[in-house]
Symmetry: C2
DNA sequence: TCTTCTACATGTGCATCCAAATATCCATTC
DNA sequence: GAATGGATATTTGGATGCACATGTAGAAGA
């Protein structure tokens, strides 16, 4: 098994994008670090052009900051800015919940229970847990039957996941995570859109302070 | 006065971006139309490279659809998809309202009244009215003191403005627009964040059906 | 006449190359 | 010794060229 080898013929731009994002995810590139298009290009054996385009995409996501003629820097978020992203995510996922409540079938709810169970099973393995946690939220986003909304949610998750990883890695999980997620499923099953939206908003905003506080203490921002 | 001539030295990419967006805004490029990078490049006298990057940005916004090796097409929205964008906008602007309520000073509220008055004065001139309407909403977004949120709101507005223009141009405005906006200011002044959020969400979702319905009837979608 | 195969045309994605903008370093001056 | 000015080095933004993928039209065969 060759793992994530050329399964799909990826474009050079996509390759550069994944490469940079991976480095940031793994903490090899930390906020504030500078990034030269030429370096990245030679590291993965391509010209600067596709790297440039990947920079552009990561800039749109807010992950990189672009300064004219002076290259790209991994964005540093202040605690306030990070909190802001959590707030945006809370309303977007709240909307997704509202819609999911309307569209979800019994089978969908069963599948959510399955996903939660899969999360529970790897509670000790942080990496695995994070992946499955993201999957769980993605599943709800998909139930909203709103592609663009799901895409927007994925974009904010992409950003927050980077910081969530640092948090879950270095702090013990103080919040009752499984219970919180169970409540989300129950809210969907209950079938009240307004109530379900509120539950999701609370869920997202409840975890936010812990992450933000932890990271500002361990000055992961500078 | 040279109008909008090289006031700021714009990058070629930004120029291409504005050019394409302008054409779409003015209805010269309608949904479904194909766009060749070479054509655009020669029209405004630059190479295909910056045009390519502008395509990428417009794709991120959902305004263009990119098919591998087969160029760019102005995205066609189904009524459902357009409604979805309205919903996203409603929750984002709702959040902005919530935050604006907390941060707004008396002076800020006065300025909002000024902006509303400026809107009222050009009610007959559709183009002007739209611009000032967008300005009004932008002002509230700015009061949220949340840069990223304001940026995300601007992105959805960019998209909806295209369709709002068609609507306001060809339909008589059936909704009481000034009154609705006055209610927004009052909600901010009242100082109840939850209430203010609800008012904004209703405001956005109230105008949505009229726009969506009008456009699906006049098959502006394809 | 209708289908299929092949040659040709078009247009994209990426590499290479060039010029302009910014940063760095050193010499000169006060 | 600090500051200022200019030469040099980096590095980006954009232009051009090329190869490959996709679309199209005409020829050959049924």
């Amino acid at each position: 098994m060759y793992g994530s080898e050329t399964t799909t013929p990826m474009s050079a731009e996509a390759e550069a994008y994944e490469y940079i994002l991976g480095k940031i995810r793994r903490g090899e590139l930390r906020p504030g670090m500078r990034l030269k298009s030429e370096d990245v290009a030679s590291e993965i054996g391509m010209s600067r052009m596709p790297v440039r385009e990947a920079f552009g995409r990561l800039y749109q996501l807010g992950i990189l900051t672009l300064r004219a003629n002076r290259g790209a820097v991994v964005t540093e978020f202040t605690p306030e800015q990070l909190m802001e992203v959590f707030e945006i995510r809370s309303v977007l996922e709240g909307l997704a919940m509202r819609r999911a409540t309307i569209h979800a079938t019994d089978k969908d709810i069963e599948e959510l229970h399955d996903l939660l169970e899969r999360m529970r099973r790897v509670e000790e393995d942080v990496e695995q847990w994070l992946t499955r946690h993201t999957d769980f939220h993605k599943a709800i986003a998909r139930l909203s039957k709103a592609q663009r909304l799901a895409g927007d949610i994925e974009k904010t998750q992409l950003l927050l996941e980077i910081y969530m990883r640092l948090w879950v890695l270095h702090a013990e999980k103080p919040v009752d995570l499984t219970g919180d997620h169970l409540r989300l499923i129950e809210a969907i099953a209950a079938g009240n859109p307004g109530e379900a939206e509120a539950v999701m908003r609370d869920h997202v905003l409840n975890t936010a302070p812990a992450v933000v506080e932890f990271l500002s203490k361990h000055n992961a921002f500078g």
